[in-house]
Symmetry: C2
Subunit: 203 residues, 2 copies
């Protein structure tokens, strides 16, 4: 059989994976530890051998997902910055890449956000993650504007916050009414207007 270290971390990974799926399907409280173990093909013995509690699992899950996400983005960033296309395409492209499965990711991250609004510990973890993500996006914006001799009349971070807020709000509407709000439609309709308003040629 596999070496024990490898086996252990594989078990951990499968449990995290199962948790991601089950949380997306039933929500955090709606998912029992046993549900998660079943999905991963283990029993609760494996679970409690790897995690102290369900709360601990959530934080670990969020950390793991976050790490993977930021890594993917980091690899993607240079490409986006150097490719032809507008600033907007790059930013929205990054946002879309960020979510492997839009629906699943929306469910998970929204629920974790709710959790964070009630738990300072989770809030700190979430804000750290969002901060890093926002920084990546901000860097992307800065690079592209610099390369295009473009200057923004608002701080890039402020613009990024706008894009994120709009994107998240729009995604919610899209998931609720796919027919009425095609994915990305609100962003592509209105963001160019904002971008146009805050852009000015560099001196």
């Amino acid at each position: 059989m596999e070496p024990p270290k490898r086996r252990r971390s594989a078990t951990r990974a499968r449990l995290l994976e199962g948790a991601l799926e089950v949380f997306a399907e039933r929500g955090f409280h709606g998912a029992s530890v046993e549900d998660i173990c079943d999905r991963a093909g283990f029993t609760r013995g494996a679970f409690y051998s790897n995690f102290g509690s369900k709360d601990e699992l959530v934080l670990a899950l969020f950390q793991a997902t976050t790490d993977r996400l930021l890594e993917q983005i980091g690899a993607l960033l240079p490409d986006l910055a150097n490719q032809p296309g507008t600033l907007l395409d790059a930013v929205l492209g990054l946002l879309d890449e960020a979510a492997l499965d839009q629906r699943q990711w929306h469910l998970i991250s929204t629920e974790f956000t709710l959790h964070a609004l009630r738990s300072p510990e989770a809030a700190e973890a979430l804000n750290r993650q969002r901060g890093m993500f926002r920084d990546q996006l901000t860097r992307l914006v800065e690079e592209i504007t610099a390369a295009g001799d473009l200057q923004l009349s608002v701080p890039p971070e402020q613009f990024v916050r706008l894009v994120i807020a709009l994107h998240e709000g729009a995604r919610s509407q899209t998931l609720l009414e796919p027919a009425a709000v095609p994915a990305g439609s609100l962003e592509r309709t209105f963001l160019p207007m904002v971008l146009n308003a805050v852009s000015r040629r560099q001196v």
Copy 2:
């Protein structure tokens, strides 16, 4: 004592009120029926005499809150439309009035949205409510633009969807980082730009 009909509906109301608070504090699954009854000052006997189950309560709660909300807005609408001030002030004002307690309302409505993304029945109820709310806002926009000899280059409903998406996304950021994102700051920074871009004097 009170007449029984009155007493019954008062009990129901107090249970709904308690549910609102407890759901906001602990989330839907985190709140037990008994928690809700305790908060309302009853026991589970009163609960099951008034509601068939927790699921039924949620729908009733959402309905009740929605009704009250729409009623308030309906009363508010003529004032907003006829008062001096910009279109933006009116729309944002309405959105803020809509939420008695921003934080509590955000928690409840977000969680119900998550619920709706997994339950078609809840989705229908939610979309109906959101539709009515959106219609109210759209009517407000139409009235104000007409009164101001203003025309929008996008359908009013589309603009309203934008405002709602941005508002909800921004509210999330505000609740997570009150210091970094003061309430309404994103809206007041960027919506004027959009409004300017889509506005044109009427012929």
